[in-house]
Symmetry: C2
Subunit: 114 residues, 2 copies
C-alpha cells in the first residue's frame, strides 16, 4: 500500500534500525521504545491487522511468532524474560494499520498490560 | 505435566469458564480479568513458554494465533479492538509456565503495555 508507513519501511523507502530481514518479514527497533529492548516484527505483505487474518494466513502467523522468538533469543532476553504484544484496532491501541508484533524486554513489565 | 495448573484445566481436572475447545487448544476466561473481556488461549500439550518454541512448533503457533483471532471476533471485539499479549519469563510477568495467549478487550488499553 503506497500510503502505509510500514510498507515503506519494508520497501527501504523509509530508514529503520533493522535487526532481522528475510523475504517475508522485517524486524526493526521501535522509534518510541517502551522498554530497553523494543522491536517490531512485521510481514512485508500488507495485512492491516489481526482481524484481517484468514485461515490462509495461518502459516504466516506461525512464522511471525517463531521469528519473533528467535529475535528475542538473539537479543539476549531469554534469561530475564520478555513480552509479545499485538494491538488490533482502537481499543488495542494500534497506531499503524499494518500488522506488527511488539517484542518488549530488558525491564520488568507490569500488569495489567496496558 | 502433573503439577501444571493449565494442564489440569486442559484435562478437565480443574474447572474453567470455557469459551473454545478443540483437540489441540482450549480457551477460557482469566480468573483475574484485567479488562471486560480477558481470555486465555492455551495449547493442550505442555509447552512451558515462548522460549521453548522450536521450528516444529510453528504450525501450532499459527493455529494459536488464528484461533485467538476467531475468538476475539466471536466475542464481538472487532469493531472496538483488542490486544494479544504473551508473557515469557520473569520480566514478561509469566505466572503459569504453560504457554498462554491473553486476549484483552472491552476497554481502551493503555500504552506502554505494562
Amino acid at each position: 500500500m503506497s500510503d502505509c508507513l510500514f510498507c515503506k519501511i519494508a520497501a527501504g523507502e523509509i530508514p529503520c534500525t533493522e535487526v532481522f530481514s528475510n523475504e517475508k518479514f522485517i524486524a526493526f527497533r521501535d522509534i518510541a521504545p517502551q522498554a530497553p529492548t523494543h522491536i517490531l516484527v512485521i510481514p512485508r505483505s500488507h495485512i492491516a491487522g489481526l482481524s484481517d487474518f484468514t485461515d490462509a494466513d495461518q502459516v504466516l502467523a506461525g512464522e511471525l511468532m517463531t521469528i519473533a522468538v528467535k529475535i528475542a533469543a538473539k537479543e539476549g532476553l531469554v534469561p530475564t524474560g520478555y513480552r509479545f504484544v499485538i494491538n488490533n484496532g482502537v481499543d488495542g491501541g494500534q497506531t499503524v494499520s499494518h500488522l506488527h508484533l511488539h517484542i518488549l524486554g530488558g525491564r520488568a513489565l507490569a500488569w495489567p498490560p496496558g
